[in-house]
Symmetry: C2
Subunit: 880 residues, 2 copies
């Protein structure tokens, strides 16, 4: 072990050595080596950290000596000396893991200060108060992060002092005030640790290094790594850098800048600086920083040097850089460079511009845009400069923003909309009964339900803003009001919702309209040329289908037929069908539905001519189409107590009985999907006939129609065989009756664990599989999504039990593993099987990458997520 | 291919060749070879059947010639000739697969009859009417099973003839009447097939062989095989046997007999016979058969021969035989032998007796008893000779029978029971609220819910009879009556339920008390010495624990704590705890529950001293402990309409609001199990403290206590870590406070698919796993068990979509595969992990075999299923 190199000077490192030197250190080394001025510094490697743990929290042999050696180099380069009372070398000590990790020790500045060296700093800075302030900050930081004394205890001392002196702000304290505080802090440290504050700078330094290493394995860091799947043996590096000061005179300064405008993407330097100041001054906000371009006038040489530096770094890193710098006595020091964060709009422009400038490849450009950011560009949003009166915050369930009158029921929302008024539909939760109300509204607000509740799913499908699960709302339907704490909102009041942030805002707010830039189109074209995964949309209407095509979908991966059963003209017939007491009566009702369904399918298949359309047979449990049990119960009780109309009472009682019979304990796991088709084959048969009759008509009219009949919720090959037999028979009959030949496929959704495990069998009778990962997530976890999101899932995320909401980001370990089994075993028995995904995950970037990895043929998502999916699929291809 | 041997004479075969010769043929061959008299016959092999399918429904080359050759041998042996008009050889043709398969072609008798040979039969039998009757039967059988003409068409002709002649019964038809029928039948055959009835006996024979082969692949046979997992390439054999006749005079006869009494197991011949008769006569019931012992007087030589034959067969097969025989002119022919079906009681006696007689080994004896039959012996049952007025039939949910007054609510049931009256609790379904009523009742009857509904599970646990899901019952709680069709039953009426058959019987019925015979104890002792799996019981009370020990359980595999929350003294405090609006208030309520829970655990741990007890933390969703939402809604509506007490209304409205907040869409997948422990750690903490305080007291008192703390519904290691940390901390505290050291384990239930998939991780922090296969089946299939059993599962079984109810017999392909993954991966990271099962499957023989195969350490089941589990576990060991 002895002889290992544990410490690197900046000039010995490079950006490639990120795993060894950590992200921050590697970039400092890189800058040093391309000739930029960085304060002298060294990096203790992640290997040293790992060795430290192997040796039971002891520094590995040789490490300390290496630090001391390199310190000599720093002293030579700076002309200062560690612990020297006249010209003390002061350093910052920072952790720096290969992957940035919140929770670890961050920074100790001004290390090397003690009762003597603080005098040297005072002399150098010509500012005793500043030196003392540095010292007390150092004592606090060191006490807190290195010695483990609660920060609050330092604060308490300081507060007491301020009260004593009748000060309100820190800057009111004089140098001698700070000296008193310093004495107090040193006493506190001695009291808490049983030892005096270490005056020896070397002791300070090694204690700080120890603390950085140690912070790698504190509870919250371990949990963070476990949750984010970061290996425990990465380790952290330690950066030790000579302090430089931007506040030693007017030829000094400090600032931060981006190489391009991070909000628009324009190719202009963007940033601000302060002369004669340190970083803290910018934060404190006492003086107003100036725009970076003003530096040209104040220090033209430095400015020119800085501009060149920016060009150099951008060309070197081939990306926008976010740079921290300090000017000490006319000399420009770079303290950090990293990838610049940017808005969605800027990201697009920068990526496309850089390709045009020849700086980067198209692949790199595709990787530079965060797919989820595209979402913002597709929806209206609130003017970021507007002042908002935010009444409450719910879940950001469907992006975009809208304003309108508060309306509490779907029928009234529809009526108001027909009168040309804008409404926001407010419900505790929505059901399929409310669809027409959602259609009519500008946006939806619910007090219950999660990111994948009915309201959320439907609103996303329609591209409408939605805020869900806003539990602060106490809705009173009877009075048509809701309370948020003691604020009352009435029907007709104007309200705004921001489905991107979850904000519920009082009154109307100024909006910005979405604009799809040329860069947007350009980048997605490149994405299409790159990706391997097909992209389809989930759409139930010809309108949605058209929107999907416009946004680039290559087919419909899920057309739900249940929404079609909800129309005002249909529902009574659907209820007639469900409540039929004989198969004959049921068939009569179904015969009435047949021409309506045929028109539905005609419309959607026509809109998607040339592209496949997966049509799913009726899926939800039948009681969803019946009147609400509780409302019936109240009506009946009222009729009973008031001795009301006897016939009506009997009728309602009968209806209640039937509703009760259809009510289930756990409808999600109940009589739905193909189970309906097995107990009531006539329902599936009607739907099959409607699909094929529409197909035959369209083929006759010259359209290129590709229906895919999807039988949901299969868990056993026998279920599929049972329904499939009838579907084939009906197709044959329709072909015979119409004299038109057409193609079609029959397949199934894979959405219960058993279906994944028996995929090898099931694939023998399926031409396609589509993963219904919403339900598969529910069954794999045993989570009812509505209940989980409302009741405990947020606590799971808060307590880091799960890293992500598995209904949003596909759970690779559980759900994903089942998908892998399914794909592998089904392709073995049916190599031509077409496999897709139509759960909400089909529009989520991380999940799309998994779909690519596991070898799916396509993903299908809400129309408005199609652009995200196109980009994500391209990234998945590039990165794997 | 030519040269293959496709046809075996009986003398060429043996019982070992069952796969080649089918079950029936192999036994006939075996009997022939041990010297018994069997009519001459041949067997066409299953290989010939498979070759037939390979050659696209053509007989394999050489097969026909081999049949013809063997036919010559039969002619020689019988002295008759196929097609000879004087002494025709007639044969029976039967299918005979290696595994008996309903749905396949069964039998054609008297093949070889035609217009000429029928005269020979008439001469031989001296009975023209009999010969003609044989011929018309042959025409009908041949027409139906070989030529595929609907049986009903023959019946219709016959009925018309009888109407014409004014006959009521077949035996009224004379020889000449039958001749007319024969002419009609031949015309029918010609009309239906377009060809005359084949008079050529060889043509008849090969057509019959073709039909047997063909019946292997008809739809219902294929479905049967798929569902029962019988390989399609087993094929069926064909048995061709010379006809013998028991009705050619008084020295003839026919009969069936068992070598021992199949209802008691006594070692006496048991059976009946008729002289001068054929098998059909026994069935027709025109003459009364006589007991087999009478044969001694009528034909002493034949009887002696038969008795010897029985001994020989029993010794040869080492099991009770069920024998068919015919005596033709004083000669005893054996037509079939097979294992004799027997009652549970008989099975036990036979098995133990045969070991004592030195006939069989203990292993063989253990295999001779069907474990599920033991259940009958543990419960009271209805006298099989009683006449019953069966009003309705539900699901046989918990075995045993009981009579009592009809009572509709749990409180009243409890009151009546305290008054010394016997009651049957009748509910639409039961909830944990009804426990005290179930305890107080003789039996339970529900109109909803399946074999694993609340009522069923609880009743089985208590060993009480229960009939569930009896949908014919229309219960009216208000009037306290129920209707079955138009029969009305009132409160107080006497009713009986038979939980073994599902019968609901009017009035009191005579019962037989259970008796555990010496043979029962003996066999189970042998089982214990043989089995590898441990056997535990699911028990929640000291009483159940004691019962479990009595029946041989070696520990408690599941002690549910929720039932303990339901007592009348507890429920108000539990509700206080749930409805608490602050953590503080919740803790106050929990503090009151702590000493009660401690007493619960004290009792059960003490009863199981020396054995481990797995105690599961509170599992069900909290709203189960709250008042019913619908009842509240009715009360509120009433108060509102009648302008009732304002304070009460407000209070009820507030309660309803809280109940609503806790209500879930799918409680099975909701806020329950460890999810409660994560959002309300104080609940788990109280339970942990109660367990450890009880443990410390018992250890101090000198008991050997082994608590296993079980954290339910884990799906991720982080959930387990979170709860486990607190449990360990509390154990340490209790050890410190009490000064008593004790041992305990912490583990989890594996009951959602994700837990099985992540078992390798989860096992790192668990000392035991227990498969909760009820919930695992629900989530793997996506079946809510109550909904599925009531709504569609019966249709799945009827339509052969599933072979078995997966809540009763563990689904090896889906659920079982997940269990295998879990066992393998968990043992890799934790080789010492103790793994059991506590779902209902733990008491089901097929599932227990799977648990043995997959390497579990123990199974746990209801106390009354412990004997079944002991025997099943022994069988699993012996057979694998």
């Amino acid at each position: 072990m002895e002889g290992n190199k544990y410490v690197y000077l900046f000039e010995e490192g490079s950006a490639d050595l990120k795993n060894l030197l950590g992200g921050k250190g590697a970039n400092l080394a890189e800058m040093t080596n391309i000739g930029l001025t960085v304060p002298p510094g060294m990096i203790i490697t992640t290997e040293a950290c790992n060795a430290f743990y192997e040796k039971n929290l002891q520094f590995p042999p040789g490490m300390e000596e290496q630090v001391q050696d390199k310190l000599k180099v720093l002293e030579n380069e700076t002309g200062k000396k560690f612990g020297d009372p006249k010209a003390p070398l002061l350093v910052s000590v920072r952790s720096g893991a290969p992957i940035s990790m919140p929770g670890m020790m961050d920074t100790v500045l001004n290390l090397g200060l003690n009762d003597e060296t603080v005098q040297g700093l005072a002399a150098q800075s010509n500012d005793e108060r500043f030196a003392m302030d540095c010292y007390r900050r150092f004592l606090n930081m060191f006490g807190d992060v290195v010695l483990g004394i609660e920060h609050q205890k330092f604060e308490d001392y300081l507060q007491r002092k301020k009260n004593q002196k009748n000060y309100q702000f820190d800057y009111e304290l004089s140098a001698s005030d700070w000296k008193e505080v310093i004495e107090n802090y040193k006493q506190l440290i001695e009291k808490e640790t049983g030892k005096p504050f270490p005056q020896d700078p070397e002791e300070q330094l090694f204690k700080a290094i120890y603390a950085v290493f140690n912070s790698w394995n504190i509870d919250r860091a371990i949990v963070y790594r476990r949750v984010n799947k970061i290996p425990d043996d990465l380790g952290t590096a330690v950066n030790i850098v000579a302090m430089v000061y931007g506040n030693l005179g007017d030829d000094c300064g400090t600032g931060v800048a981006f190489t391009r405008d991070p909000s628009t993407g324009e190719k202009n330097l963007y940033g601000e600086y302060l002369t004669n100041a340190q970083g803290e001054d910018v934060v404190a906000g006492i003086r107003t920083p100036r725009h970076i371009s003003s530096l040209k006038d104040e220090m033209p040489d430095v400015y020119e040097q800085f501009v060149n530096t920016c060009h150099l770094l951008e060309e070197h890193y081939r990306d926008v850089q976010d740079i921290e710098f300090t000017i000490e006595r006319g000399k420009l020091y770079l303290l950090q460079t990293r990838k610049g964060k940017r808005t969605a709009q800027a990201a697009l422009k920068i990526a496309v511009d850089m390709v045009k400038e020849g700086l980067i490849s198209k692949e790199k450009a595709l990787n530079m845009v965060e797919p989820s950011h595209l979402d913002n560009l597709l929806h209206r949003r609130i003017d970021p400069n507007a002042e908002l009166d935010i009444a409450a915050k719910g879940l950001p369930a469907s992006p975009g923003a809208a304003s309108g009158q508060i309306i509490f029921n779907a029928d009234e929302a529809e009526k108001k909309a027909q009168e040309g008024q804008k409404v926001i539909l407010v419900r505790t939760e929505t059901t399929p009964d409310d669809i027409h109300g959602i259609v009519a509204s500008q946006g939806v607000l619910t007090s219950r339900g999660g990111m994948t509740s009915h309201a959320a799913v439907v609103a996303r499908g329609m591209g409408k803003p939605c805020v869900c699960g806003c539990e602060a709302l106490q809705i009173n339907y009877e009075k048509e009001t809701f309370l948020v704490e003691d604020r009352q909102f009435n029907k007709g009041d104007i309200l705004s919702v921001d489905g991107g942030t979850g904000h519920v805002i009082v009154g109307e707010v100024p909006m910005l309209e979405p604009e799809l830039s040329d860069e947007f189109q350009q980048l997605l074209e490149w994405a299409d040329a790159t990706r391997k995964l097909g992209i389809r949309a989930n759409a139930d209407t010809p309108q949605d289908a058209a929107k999907s095509r416009e946004l680039g979908a290559e087919g419909i991966g899920l057309c739900r037929t249940e929404h079609m059963f909800m129309g005002n003209d249909r529902l009574p017939i659907v209820q007639e069908m469900i409540l039929a007491r004989s198969e004959e009566k049921r068939k009569e009702a179904l015969d009435k539905l047949l021409p309506m369904q045929e028109e539905d399918f005609y419309g959607i298949l026509k809109a998607m001519s040339g592209f496949p359309v997966t049509i799913r047979f009726l899926d939800p449990p039948l009681h969803e189409f019946l009147p609400d049990k509780e409302e019936l119960l109240v009506e009946i009780t009222e009729l009973r107590i008031t001795n009301g109309d006897k016939d009506k009472l009997a009728e309602k009682e009968d209806l209640l009985k039937q509703v009760r019979q259809l009510t289930e304990f756990n409808p999600m796991l109940g009589h739905r999907g193909c189970r309906l088709g097995i107990t009531y084959p006539e329902i599936c048969n009607m739907q099959a006939r409607a699909i094929f009759q529409a197909t035959a008509r369209l083929v006759k009219e010259g359209y290129d129609v590709l229906p895919e009949v999807e039988i949901p919720l299969i868990g056993d090959i026998n279920e599929l065989s049972f329904v499939r037999k009838d579907v084939i028979e009906i197709a044959d009959k329709v072909i015979e009756e119409s004299g038109v030949k057409f193609n079609y496929m029959i397949g199934t959704m894979i959405e219960v664990p058993r279906a994944t495990l028996l995929s090898g069998e099931i694939a023998k009778e399926a031409e396609f599989f589509s993963f219904g990962t919403n339900d598969l997530t529910q069954t794999t976890f045993g989570f009812s999504r509505d209940d989980a999101e409302a009741k405990f899932l947020h606590e799971y995320i808060d307590k880091k039990i799960l890293a992500e909401n598995p209904f949003i980001v596909l759970d690779r370990d559980g759900v994903g593993r089942l998908m892998e089994v399914s794909v592998q075993e089904s392709r073995k028995t049916n190599p031509d099987l077409l496999i897709g995904i139509c759960g909400e995950h089909g529009g989520e970037p991380n999940s799309i990458e998994f779909c690519h990895l596991v070898g799916l043929n396509y993903v299908s998502c809400s129309p408005f997520r199609v652009p995200i999916a196109r980009l994500s699929a391209a990234q998945a291809k590039i990165n794997n």
